[in-house]
Amino acid sequence: MRETRLWSLHILVLPIIAVLLGAHFAVMHYAPVFYGMSVEKAREFSTMIERGKSITQLVLYILLLAAGLYHGMYGVRGIIRELPLTPTLAKLVDVGIIAFGLFIFALGTYVTWWTYSYKIGG
C-alpha cells in the first residue's frame, strides 16, 4: 500500500483516539466527577462487568483498541525502520509489526467480548 495512505490513516485515527480516550478517562478515572462514583467503585469487577454489557461500550472499546493499536504500531514501525536495516529485515519488521498488532487486537477484542457476554451469577 502507498505510504501516503498508511501515514494519512495514522493521522486520521488521532481524533478518534482523542474522543474515545476522553470517554474512557471520564468513565474510569473521572467517575467521581461524571457519575458521582468513587474511582475504586468504578474499577470494581462487578461495575466493570455491568459497564461491559453495553453494546455501545463494546463497539467503542473495539474501535478505540483498533485506532490506538494502529497509531501505536505505525509509530513503533517508524522508529524501528529508521535504523539501518536491510530490505529483508525491513520487510520482516513490517510483517512482525502487523502480526503483533493483529494478535493484540484479537486479544483485546476477545476480552471485550468476554466482558460483554459474561453471565452474572454463572
Binding site: R2, E3, T4, W7, S8, G78, E82, P84
Partner: protein, 278 residues
C-alpha cells in the same frame, strides 16, 4: 556586526585532514594566517594550499555560490566556502571539516554520490503524458507568472548537498530521500507542465520518503540559495495525500499548448526596442 569582528587579524584555521591511503582516522591540522576584510574561507584555503600545505584537498569551482561544489562544515555548520567570509564568522579559530552525513573521500572532499542518486531517483525533469505533442509539437507549453512563482524558489537548488549535511534524519537514516530530492520532487510535480506524479510515486511514496521528515527545518536554514526544502516537503505531503484520495490536481499535457503561429506573434510583441545608437 561590530567593527572588531571585521578587523583584519591573525586567524587560526583548524582543518580536518584525512588521506585514506595513509590515515586510519581523520585528524586536525592548524594553520595560522593573516586574514583581510572580505576574504572568504575558500580564499583562505587556497592561500593555505599555496603557502603551507600543498596536499590539502577540497572541491570547488565557480567561487561565487553558483556551482555548489565547495560545501564544507565551517565552525560546525554546513556552508559554502566561497560565500562565507572568514571575519564574519566572528571567531579567531575557524574549524573546517568535510560535510557530515557523507562518506569522506579525502580531507574536505565528501562523496556526493548519495545526493546525486537520490536526486536522479525522483525523475527531476518535466514528464509529459502526451507523446504525440512531444513527437510532433504544435505549440509551446505555457506557464503563467503565477504558476512559475509557485515553484520559483524550489528551482534555485544548486545541488550543493548542504541540506542533507544539516538534516538530522539523514544522519540516522541514510536511506531517507532527504530534503534536496524531496524538494525537487515537489518542484517538478507542482510544475503545471508536468504530468509525472504517478511516475514518481515509486520513488517518493515510500517509507523513506516525505513522512520521515522530522520537521527540524535545519535544511532550510542551511540552504545557501534561500530555498525552503522543509516547506517543500510539507507541500509534497499535501500533494500526495490529495492524490491518494482522488483530489489531486488534474493536469493535461494539451491544456496549455499555444499554437506555434501565436508563439511567433508573441515573440514579435516582446521584441526589443530599435537601436538608438548606430
Amino acid at each position: 556586526m561590530t567593527d572588531k569582528t571585521i578587523t583584519p587579524r591573525e586567524i587560526t584555521f583548524r582543518v580536518r585532514r584525512y588521506d585514506p591511503d595513509v590515515d586510519t582516522v581523520p585528524h586536525f591540522d592548524e594553520y595560522r594566517m593573516h586574514v583581510h576584510d572580505g576574504m572568504t574561507v575558500l580564499e583562505a584555503l587556497h592561500q593555505i594550499k599555496a603557502e603551507k600545505e600543498p596536499t590539502l584537498a577540497w572541491r570547488s569551482s565557480c567561487r561565487m555560490g553558483v556551482c555548489g561544489s565547495c560545501g564544507m562544515f565551517i565552525n560546525h555548520l554546513p556552508m559554502l566556502a566561497c560565500q562565507t567570509q572568514v571575519l564574519h564568522l566572528d571567531s579567531d579559530v575557524v574549524t573546517i571539516a568535510p560535510l557530515p552525513n557523507y562518506e569522506n573521500v579525502k580531507d574536505l572532499v565528501p562523496n556526493l554520490e548519495p545526493l546525486i542518486e537520490k536526486h536522479a531517483a525522483i525523475k527531476p525533469f518535466i514528464i509529459h503524458t502526451n507523446s504525440k505533442e512531444i513527437d510532433e509539437p504544435t505549440g509551446e507549453f505555457l506557464q503563467s507568472v503565477k504558476e512559475r512563482e509557485s515553484i520559483s524558489q524550489f528551482t534555485h537548488c544548486i545541488k550543493c548537498g548542504l541540506c542533507l549535511a544539516a538534516c538530522p534524519t539523514v544522519a540516522t537514516d541514510p536511506l531517507f530521500l532527504g530534503p534536496q530530492a524531496l524538494a525537487q520532487a515537489y518542484r517538478y510535480t507542482a510544475d503545471n507542465r508536468d504530468c509525472g506524479l504517478h511516475g514518481r510515486l515509486e520513488a517518493i511514496d515510500i517509507f523513506h520518503g516525505p513522512y520521515q521528515c522530522h520537521l527540524a527545518g535545519a535544511c532550510s536554514q542551511a540552504c545557501p540559495k534561500g530555498v525552503d526544502p522543509a516547506f517543500a516537503i510539507q507541500l509534497l505531503k499535501r500533494t500526495l495525500v490529495l492524490d491518494s484520495i482522488g483530489f489531486g490536481k488534474k493536469k493535461s499535457s494539451l491544456a496549455k499548448v499555444m499554437p506555434l503561429a501565436d508563439v511567433v506573434k508573441a515573440i514579435e510583441e516582446f521584441a526589443p526596442p530599435p537601436r538608438t545608437v548606430k
